[in-house]
């Protein structure tokens, strides 16, 4: 199984410099559908699904490898190597922002810029640090995953229709961009929300853009400021967009902020 197939890698665009988009917990590379096309003229746009998400090869899921975000960061580097990507502009949303931080820490020469969309290096509160969540909140999320993946929900639709060989029969009814193997989703949730990558931030010396949303319960404003303080070469942009996914709810604002950063830094 090639890395391309394993991670369902899609390459588009006419530019030479690669811009690699990494999606966060919950959905797949479709998360970039309103943002990525804007960069196709000037960049070589690379999209992929994490193993376990979207159309990745779930058979490649390895509990041990993906037991920490470093496993996902290793995949980012494997994609870079397979596609021979250099001077990469890495754009990571949510937990994938930290995958980029880890990957850039492992192979700094690969990356020229980091764009961290709604990043958080640690979701749990800690002494002197407000991540936003208590351990019990994460159990609540796992419970929500249980209800949505294992319960009588639309992700069950192909099974209910009873024709696993022809999933397209049910595809239109389902939440196709967020389908995932329930066990993998639960594991990914744990790995994401129990991660602590605060120490990795200080290793980043390349120009970094932090896009901080308003009213983001997953990555609150104080966390964005923390990331900004820890990465000296970073620029923090407080967006008008609310929620956790400005790449979907405010693509224009996201694109404009990225363009400005890339122009200024480059």
């Amino acid at each position: 199984m090639s890395v391309r197939a394993r991670n369902n890698v899609h390459v588009s665009g006419t530019g030479a410099q690669p811009m690699l988009f990494a999606h966060g917990f919950g959905c797949d590379q479709n998360m970039w559908r309103f943002v990525a096309p804007a960069f196709e003229r000037s960049y070589k746009v690379v999209l992929f699904d994490h193993v376990g998400a979207g159309h990745s090869d779930t058979a490649a899921y390895d509990q041990r490898k993906y037991g920490t975000l470093a496993g996902y960061a290793a995949d980012v580097l494997e994609i870079c190597r397979e596609l021979d990507l250099e001077e990469v502009v890495f754009v990571g949303h949510s937990v994938a922002a930290m995958m980029g931080v880890l990957a850039a820490g492992m192979e700094p020469h690969r990356f020229s810029r980091l764009v961290l969309v709604a990043p958080s290096p640690r979701y749990l509160n800690d002494a002197g640090y407000v991540g936003g969540f208590a351990r019990s909140d994460i159990d609540g999320l796992l419970d929500a995953l249980d209800s949505n993946y294992l319960g009588w929900s639309s992700t069950m639709a192909p099974v209910i229709i009873g024709n696993a060989d022809r999933p397209e029969l049910a595809a239109e009814l389902t939440n196709s961009f967020c389908r995932a193997d329930p066990a993998i989703a639960a594991h990914f949730a744990r790995v994401t929300f129990l991660s602590d990558n605060r120490a990795d931030l200080t290793r980043i010396s390349i120009p970094t853009l932090i896009l901080q949303c308003a009213e983001d319960v997953i990555a609150p404003g104080s966390v964005g400021e923390y990331v900004h303080r820890q990465i000296p070469a970073s620029r923090l942009v407080n967006m008008k967009a609310t929620g956790h996914c400005p790449n979907l709810s405010a693509p224009d604002e996201t694109i404009a902020a990225m363009r400005e950063f890339l122009a200024a830094a480059g």
């Binding site: 199984m1 090639s2 966060g24 917990f25 919950g26 959905c27 479709n30 998360m31 559908r33 949510s94 969540f133 909140d137 994460i138 159990d139 609540g140 999320l141 796992l142 419970d143 929500a144 995953l145 249980d146 209800s147 949505n148 294992l150 319960g151 009588w152 929900s153 639309s154 009814l173 389902t174 939440n175 196709s176 961009f177 967020c178 929300f193 009213e215 983001d216 319960v217 997953i218 609310t242 929620g243 956790h244 996914c245 979907l248 709810s249």
Partner: protein, 385 residues
């Protein structure tokens, strides 16, 4: 095709009816701005949650009504789905009611967009899923308990088998020593009986261990280059004397299209084919046993091979066909008495093939014979990554 309402109908009454249907529907209705700010809500929702209409309509966002776990799910699944595909179906949330009670709901939402494509409003329909959630929990718990029980049983079986094998090896060693000493004919017959019985017992134990190993998720398939032809021919040669002793013809046909070297788990494939050939010889009183390997679909770096083992043996009754792959089940209740064996071979073969993403097929006519076949995809070296 619009139908004219009856002339005497009171339009005010009709509007009132529509209003009433909205307010008192058997589900909650919420309309929100794209960012979740509640713009309209029906009475049913207020009754369920104890929330006040005025409070909800003064800037409250739908997502703030959820538990933290549900809120994360909202931000990571529901909101993205709505924006990506324009709808989200059957999303389970836990809502915090005015009195702190948790109300499980299932949400269906549609995002209405302007002609330019920007989101304008979200319409959410919510069902009370208290009962459903309770049933789901019971089902989930039952399933987890069942899985746990199966695992514990497998572990116990494996542990017991190991524990029995050790003293059994000692017994077999002593039998061997006895066999070499001077014995009367009668004693020698007894030692022979001891020997064959303990051999059988060891074989059975080994099979139980193989089975629990194949069942464990940690079983890793090997990936070595080997000659499938050599493996098959070796198996056939090993069974040669047994077949000859029964007066059976043992044939082996391997297609020229089978690559000389393939990459996969040679040990597992050897075990499966050995099981099938051993069974075929065991259950064939006269005639022949044939092993056939054919090349199927060839991809860039892999080939699908079809392996079939046919015999002219006693066959299997149709109503027994789907049960012979179960552990400790044989084709008839007196099979074990007549032919011996544990009935584990097929169960192990099936599990080992499942690890390859393949399955075993059987066609059989009682009194005429059986054919067991499977397809397996193996890598072809050189072109592989």
């Amino acid at each position: 095709m619009a139908h004219e309402p009856p002339a005497r109908l009171d339009h005010a009454l009709l509007d009132e009816t529509v209003e009433d249907l909205y307010e008192h529907a058997p589900c909650g209705y919420l309309s929100t701005l794209p960012d979740g700010t509640i713009a309209r809500v029906n009475q049913t929702w207020l009754d369920w949650t104890g929330q006040a209409r005025a409070g909800l309509l003064s800037g409250t966002k739908f997502q703030t009504l959820l538990t933290v776990g549900s809120r994360i799910y909202y931000e990571t699944h529901y909101a993205p789905l709505l924006q990506m595909q324009g709808f989200a179906r059957e999303i389970a949330f836990d809502v915090v009611c005015a009195d702190g009670r948790i109300l499980p709901v299932v949400a269906n939402a549609v995002q209405k967009r302007s002609e330019e494509g920007s989101a304008v409003i979200n319409r959410i329909t919510l069902f009370d899923s208290t009962d459903r959630k309770r049933y789901e929990r019971e089902l989930l718990l039952a399933r987890r308990r069942a899985e746990q029980t199966v695992k514990e049983k497998a572990d116990l079986l494996s542990m017991l088998s190991h524990d029995i094998r050790n003293p059994l090896n000692a017994v077999m060693g002593v039998v061997q020593l006895l066999d070499r000493s001077e014995l009367t004919d009668r004693q020698r017959r007894h030692v022979q009986l001891l020997k064959s019985s303990s051999d059988n017992m060891l074989q059975l134990l080994n099979r139980v261990l193989e089975l629990s190993k194949a069942e464990s998720s940690s079983y890793a398939l090997g990936r070595t280059a080997f000659s499938l032809r050599a493996v098959i021919e070796d198996i056939v040669a090993t069974f040669g004397p047994t077949a000859e002793a029964k007066g059976l013809r043992l044939r082996c046909t391997i297609s020229e299209r089978v690559p000389p070297i393939v990459v996969g788990d040679a040990i597992v494939l050897r075990q499966i084919v050995t099981n099938l050939v051993g069974n075929a010889i065991k259950f064939t009183p006269a005639g022949e046993v044939a092993v056939m390997v054919q090349a199927g679909e060839i991809a860039a770096d892999a080939i699908t091979l079809h392996v079939a083992v046919s015999d002219t043996g006693i066959g299997i009754a149709p109503d027994r066909l789907d049960r012979i792959f179960n552990e400790f089940t044989q084709a008839s209740d007196d099979t074990a008495a007549t032919f011996g064996g544990s009935g584990l071979g097929l169960a192990i073969s099936r599990k080992l093939l499942a690890l390859h993403g393949s399955e075993i097929h059987v066609a059989s006519t009682p009194g005429q014979g059986s054919t067991f076949s499977f397809a397996v995809r193996l890598l072809v070296p050189g072109t592989a990554e």
